[in-house]
Amino acid sequence: MLTNLFDGLAYGMLLFVMACGLSVTLGLMNLINLAHGAFAMAGGYVTAVLVNRLGVPFFAALPLAFVASALIGLVLERTLYVHVYRKSHLEQVLFSIGLVFMAMSGVSYLVGSEQQFIKLPAFLANRYEVLGVSIGAYRLLIIGVCGVLALVLQLAVARTRFGAQLRAAVDDPVVARGLGIHVDLVFAATFAVGSGLAGLGGALGAEILGLDPTFPVKYMVYFLIVVAVGGSAGMTGPLVAAVLLGVADVAGKYYAPQFGAFIIYALMIVILLWRPQGLFAKAGGR
């Protein structure tokens, strides 16, 4: 029972780190970025290449995955995304799916289409029994890293100057601009950090979720669930939604394997009928 909770928590945390960037870009820039999973995939592949081919230690590769994905995000934001902010949601869908297609094909061309596995340090395969709960070292690592990140993000948004600018820009970009906030800069930085986090999530998640060129499509739906159910206000919504999704998914498959795939989707429909704007909606949100 508690083991399932633990597994679900790890899974949910992972989803949160990967999806939180998507939530912010939707809330902040009103951008539907279906290519978000491609940044997660980029992080995973960067780590795989660094660790497996170049022999970089796993823990050194993780920050590099973050940096690499963030850089890719920054470059794409400045060169391409900046042109689609003002376009309609439908055109954004078209654009970002185009990017997904290119990313999948590109990875398949460059690295190959087979599953990638990242060689992990041996101690991460350990397992501990604590009060009857069986805890895997790797999942513990995920919960630790993602938990710290969630906390840092929460504080960064709530306490720092940048966070204040971010919140102002979300509330009303026009007024924020009037107040002398460089909204473009805030956008770019946020986009880069969101992409970087996705990349870090992809690197951490490759072990559990697998990593192949179809990754962005396979998990896009999960990211969207997190964002839709969580609502696009702040960090709390996506975090709660991601953990809820993770736990429901794991528990559902454990207790009712014959209904495994039904549970999360049925749960989502119910939540969205109850709260169409998600669990934590912006007051008077769109």
């Binding site: 083991t3 399932n4 597994d7 899974y11 497996n52 999948m104 094909s105 398949s108 190959g112 289409s113 087979e114 599953q115 990638q116 596995f117 060689k119 395969a125 397992r127 069986s134 895997g136 790797y138 072990e207 559990i208 979720l209 697998g210 192949d212 060129p213 179809t214 396979k218 998990y219 999960y222 998914d249 794991v250 528990a251 559902g252 498959k253 454990y254 394997p257 014959q258 495994g260 795939a261």
Partner: protein, 389 residues
């Protein structure tokens, strides 16, 4: 909008003739339909590489006919497979259809083979029922019951009494479960529970937790190639190996393509399968070396061999019919054909057109610093047990 309309109608009128094929030449055309994109793309890529290798090794001329491969992608979508097959038959006038990465893709195309009297060589899809859907279907892949039943019998012979089965919830998975359970129970084993994992499944954790709770002697696994690694890793991570549960599987799980990358966690996993890259013998050694050389050191997996043998079957049939045979003649020529393949001796059943092959029992071991499925036993000439003798 109005102009977009006009432009589109113009385009519609123009594009047809532009892409019409040139008049059929006298080449022997093989329509190769594979999932080159989408979730099953690695299957497509292995088979395609093997087909290329075969052509390179055996030349592109047989019995005076030039052989030409027309490769088309179906992305693993059944109605596309069917449409592409139809087009290859009616537009490109192919003499043979080949490929078929997944069961529904083969089943969707079967009526085309019958209607057009074009042989259809199944190089990957493994559900038993496929070959019964058209008298023009020949299979050079594997049949799931063939491998699963072998595993079931072997498992019972190892003193393993209680088993939990975990299979992916789709045609081949259910076939694997059915036949493993059938033979295992017939030999006196007990199935504690049979779990089915959704095909699009991100996490094996909850299923493995159930296995842990049930504490069987062994867990039997079938997942499509690619998902096996995640399974094995989580099996180890959960400490199931240490709690004395043996892991037995079908060859798809320890796919040669990925075995090295899957890491030492796979050491000792026992599987049943038709092909291992470590299969002894000169034929295989030559095949593996050539394949690696042509594909930047990629190791061929069972799919590659299935494709390679498919080409062998087609080439042999062309030779036998002197390059003049129609579809029916080609199928007749393939029935009962036998040859030495990289996987060992193999044969096409004259009656069922399905494959008869040796099924090997293998264990993952390290050889020259790399992980391989090392064969330690075999059952010769296994037919598809789901089909009457």
């Amino acid at each position: 909008m109005k102009n977009l309309l006009a432009a589109a109608s113009l385009l519609a009128a123009l594009i047809g003739p532009a892409v019409s094929p040139a008049a059929a030449e006298d080449a022997f055309k093989i329509g190769l339909i594979l999932p080159m994109t989408g979730p099953s793309q690695s299957t497509g890529k292995q088979i395609n590489a093997a087909v290329k290798l075969f052509m390179q090794q055996n030349g592109d001329e047989v019995a005076g006919r030039k052989v030409e491969i027309i490769l088309r992608d179906d992305a693993g979508v059944a109605d596309t497979t069917r449409r592409v097959a139809q087009e290859l038959v009616v537009k490109d006038h192919v003499s043979v259809l080949a490929g078929f990465g997944l069961t529904p893709l083969a089943l969707a195309t079967a009526p085309i083979a019958t209607q057009a009297k074009v042989p259809m060589v199944v190089m990957a899809a493994a559900t038993s029922v496929i070959t019964e859907k058209s008298p023009f279907i020949v299979r050079t892949a594997q049949v799931m019951p063939q491998v699963a039943s072998t595993m079931g019998t072997w498992t019972a012979g190892q003193g393993i009494k209680k088993v939990v089965t975990i299979v992916t919830d789709y045609g081949p998975g259910i076939d694997a479960e059915t036949w493993f359970v059938k033979n295992f129970q017939a030999a006196g084993g007990e199935i504690q529970s049979s779990l089915r994992v959704p095909l699009a499944n991100p996490d094996f954790a909850p299923f493995l937790q159930r296995v842990r709770d049930a504490q069987p002697d062994a867990v039997f696994v079938f997942t499509p190639s690619g998902q096996g690694a995640a399974f094995i890793k989580q099996f180890i991570e959960r400490g199931l190996d240490k709690s004395g549960i043996r892991l037995i599987a079908l060859g798809d799980v320890t796919d040669d393509d990925q075995l090295n990358a899957m890491g030492d966690a796979t050491l000792g996993v026992v599987t049943a399968g038709p092909y291992s890259a470590a299969h002894p013998g000169a034929v295989n050694a030559k095949f593996v070396a050539a394949f690696k050389a042509a594909n930047s050191d990629l190791r061929p997996n069972f799919m590659a061999v299935f494709g390679y043998d498919g080409m062998q079957a087609i080439y042999d049939a062309i030779k036998k019919t002197n390059g003049k045979g129609d579809g029916s003649a080609l199928i007749e020529a393939m029935k009962g054909a036998a040859w030495e393949s990289p996987r060992g001796p193999m044969q096409i059943d004259a009656k069922t057109r399905d494959i008869i092959q040796d099924v090997y029992l293998r264990k993952v071991e390290k050889k020259d610093g790399e992980l391989y499925n090392i064969e330690f036993g075999s059952v010769p000439k296994v037919r598809d047990p789901a089909k009457p003798e």
